[in-house]
Symmetry: C2
Subunit: 264 residues, 2 copies
């Protein structure tokens, strides 16, 4: 299975331009799944809820989503992308899984980062993997990385590959995703963005270094801090079904949930 | 607070010799807490339950424990050590927290590794931090590292410093402990052993590289693969009480336990 990501620098407030960038980059892609960064079409650093409102879209009426469905149709592929999602009066920092038949799953970021709390509503959809092409895909977004419970919840329900649209500004995530893969025996594709956004609230610089990590925690593909980069890697998702770390140790069967009550 | 570890190569089946080694190494130590490896006095690779039985000791009658209490008295310090613990007909792969007043806490390894399952009984004591000298100490043993639930459960109950006696043979633990510290904002002291045990069941080589990791995931002290090493580092445990990763993000208050039910 060919999986990958497109790392780039979305232009704030210009969805049409960002869509064109993505369409161009993926035009020749031979991939089953491509992950795009968090909020890939709107940009990240909103001034306030009002500005976010003006850019957020309903999934069912979004021209961006329609265009991505067409891209998936023409390439027989799936795209996981960050998306500023409006739903009635609510607005979520979401990740959409889009395929040839439409937008087939929405995940709404459960753990909002920093000023996101001021203008996004917290996620309200259960963590649940989606099966496509024989692989179980688990969606999480950016800062969800710091909570081991997120990957764990997805892997415990059978996720083989974690799709992880991100707009990272801290330096910790990439190495922690290695641990997430080791402890759960899953693949993880972290699609981070690059570039700087100078906005009314200040300036943010994103850290790039998107990566694909295998089930043993090896980084099998990665990008630089700054460059646009389309990376596609052949992986075998069935490797993630083997949860034995030794012949006598199964990463999930060895768990002792009766001793973990402090977590929930 | 001065915390550290003593990395060495215990001699299989010779508790007296291992005790002498530890006494010599710690004789000049100026430390509040020292962590020793897993099964530091018996060695690791037992042939079977019978052999383990002949070496396991009851905490209250153990000469090793008495000697360690005396060492703690004379140095006003605490020692966390791996210990083959017999309790009635049961035998546990335990970690003891020993201080000037006695053996004050026992943790029994919840997640047994590989052949340990054949001769140790699984742990049956709740994960719970112990307060000494103003710091909350959480005990875990070796392979517990792979389960994020262990450190999480301890940190959720206030652990500032994870004391982690180990006999590591895999290469993944050290980098994963970095993630454990980042995701929980705790310190971790992994005291690993060195050397090789050639025993009836085969040969095991241990990976050394003991380390102290701070609350931001920086390795502030570490050892080589092979050498005996007493390492003592001054840390401020109160740093672990600050769970803010940004001014708006608290590592524990941001959790959404209602979405983590797949874990327990």
């Amino acid at each position: 299975m060919n999986v990958g990501y497109y790392q780039f620098s979305p232009c704030f407030g210009d969805p049409a331009r960002n869509l064109e960038n993505v369409q161009d980059a993926l035009s020749g892609a031979d991939a089953d799944i491509i992950v795009l960064p968090e909020l890939a079409f709107t940009g990240y650093y909103f001034e306030n809820r009002k500005e976010l409102s003006s850019l957020a879209e309903n999934v069912s009426s979004s021209k961006i989503v329609s265009a991505l469905i067409n891209l998936c149709k023409s390439h027989d592929m799936y795209i996981a992308t960050g998306f500023a999602e409006s739903d009635g009066s609510n607005i979520y920092n979401s990740a959409l899984l889009i395929g040839p038949t439409g937008a087939i799953h929405t995940y709404r970021k459960l753990h909002l980062f920093n000023t996101e709390k001021e203008y996004f509503d917290p996620g309200n959809i259960s963590l649940k993997p989606i099966n496509i092409k024989g692989a179980n895909l688990g969606l999480m977004i950016c800062y969800d990385w710091v909570f081991p419970e997120v990957t764990r919840s997805l892997a415990a329900q059978g996720a083989d590959i974690i799709l992880h649209p991100s707009n990272l500004v801290l330096a910790y995530c990439q190495k922690t995703m290695v641990s997430r893969c080791i402890e759960n025996s899953v693949y993880a594709i972290t699609a981070n963005r690059t570039g700087t956004e100078a906005r009314p609230r200040g300036q943010l610089t994103f850290t790039g270094q998107s990566q694909i990590v295998d089930t043993k925690g090896s980084i099998i593909a990665s990008s630089t801090v700054e460059n646009d980069d389309l990376v596609i890697q052949d992986i075998d998702p069935s490797t993630a079904r083997d949860k034995f770390i030794t012949e006598n140790n199964h990463l999930f069967n060895d768990r002792r949930p009766e001793y973990y009550s402090a977590i929930t």
